[in-house]
Symmetry: C2
Subunit: 238 residues, 2 copies
């Protein structure tokens, strides 16, 4: 299980290496099943040396989570070019890449916090830290979507649509991970359509949302995902 | 702050009274701000007597949460009569009643678990207990919806639509609680439409879902919420 790394690393380099090794282990199995011994072994160093860089498994878990959060937030960044539906579809592809890479760790984290310590208790600070990280990723997604919609001061109904859609994307990913019974490409495309559908429901009852949606949809090409959905819904309704 | 109750109560009666008092306090403020002294005072008994019935605040919190979970699950039960959209709308009304009554406690619970103990640590068992209770309520909602759809062996895509819609209802309620900037009646109706919209997106790309949706929608009256939405969406699209 050792990586064979034997050369001497600088302190920060060693910390970063340990975070990477730990993140990989925390991603592949539920974090509470991963021991410090295993992390030490995978990093090719001794257990006491791990403790030299991180006071305990919790601090290493938090550092790994921070790296994962930065990684995920970066995947929401998309050039402001081309049709909106196609941009959102590319972001969904990178989102599901992330979920795919970090499956068990992502599930454990999102289903009720980090089941990390074996000692029977959680540090309050860890619960706060993980919740703050999850919120920061949601906020990064929210800010990105608003910027693509060209909105700086969102009305309450738009904020609701965007934030509740982000939570829909989370639950869709979690349900997908539980058995992977639906092809992920279908879910990526479905979430783009879900965004249009939730926004349309809001727009159907609110003129401000209606105007915003008409402005956005008018830029969409006839062969894009939004237009495709509209056509299929019309078929379904008749 | 005392209720003036002075007559002697039986053990189970006293436990139930304490659970009721605690649930009301845990509902009105974030549970970590509620002390045993306050619960004792509101119940009109001494602090040691509270400990006679419950070993600590955590066990009282868990009992209060169990009662709230039973209460919420019961609100999903709706007679199998009349159009589906109207049934779902009545359930949404009772759901928002619950969210309204238990606002701060509901928020604290759903935003990262019970921030109860002042001692700096969580008991693992409490985290498991609260997560299991939340899951049991979600499952109760899921089972109710399937029964109204007349489905016993749901295909994966229907399960995804129903479960992800339940999570959408949760996030919508949480966002509503944060400032109450949108009238709740509008959100109750919007969530009924969101259900139809998410199901339609799935049906637009899957024949099995399409057949199921056509069967359900064909029973809907022309003046029901589903038909109303369809008409408005057509207006928006043209």
């Amino acid at each position: 299980m050792t990586t064979g790394v034997r050369r001497r690393l600088g302190v920060e380099e060693r910390r970063q290496q340990l975070i990477g090794v730990a993140l990989e282990l925390f991603s592949r199995r539920s974090p509470d099943e991963v021991s410090i011994d295993e992390i030490a072994s995978a990093a090719g160093i001794s257990r006491p040396l791990v403790y030299h860089y991180f006071p305990g498994k919790l601090s290493l878990y938090e550092a790994a989570l921070q790296r994962a959060a930065d990684d995920l937030a970066a995947r929401f960044v998309e050039p402001h070019e081309g049709p909106l539906g196609a941009r959102l579809l590319r972001v969904m592809g990178r989102y599901f890449d992330f979920v795919d890479e970090h499956g068990p760790g992502f599930s454990a984290l999102m289903r009720g916090g980090p089941a990390v310590p074996a000692g029977g208790t959680y540090a309050m600070s860890t619960v706060s830290t993980t919740n703050a990280l999850i919120d920061s990723v949601r906020q990064a997604a929210y800010v990105q979507i608003l910027s693509h919609l060209g909105v700086t001061d969102p009305p309450a109904r738009l904020e609701l649509v965007v934030r509740s859609w982000i939570s829909l994307a989370e639950s869709t990913a979690l349900i997908w991970l539980d058995g992977r019974r639906i092809p992920r490409a279908e879910l990526e495309s479905q979430l783009v359509h879900d965004f249009a559908a939730l926004a349309s429901v809001s727009a159907a009852y609110d003129e401000e949302m209606g105007a915003l949606l008409r402005r956005v949809f008018k830029e969409e090409p006839a062969d894009g995902p939004f237009a495709d959905l509209a056509g299929r819904l019309l078929t379904l309704a008749t």
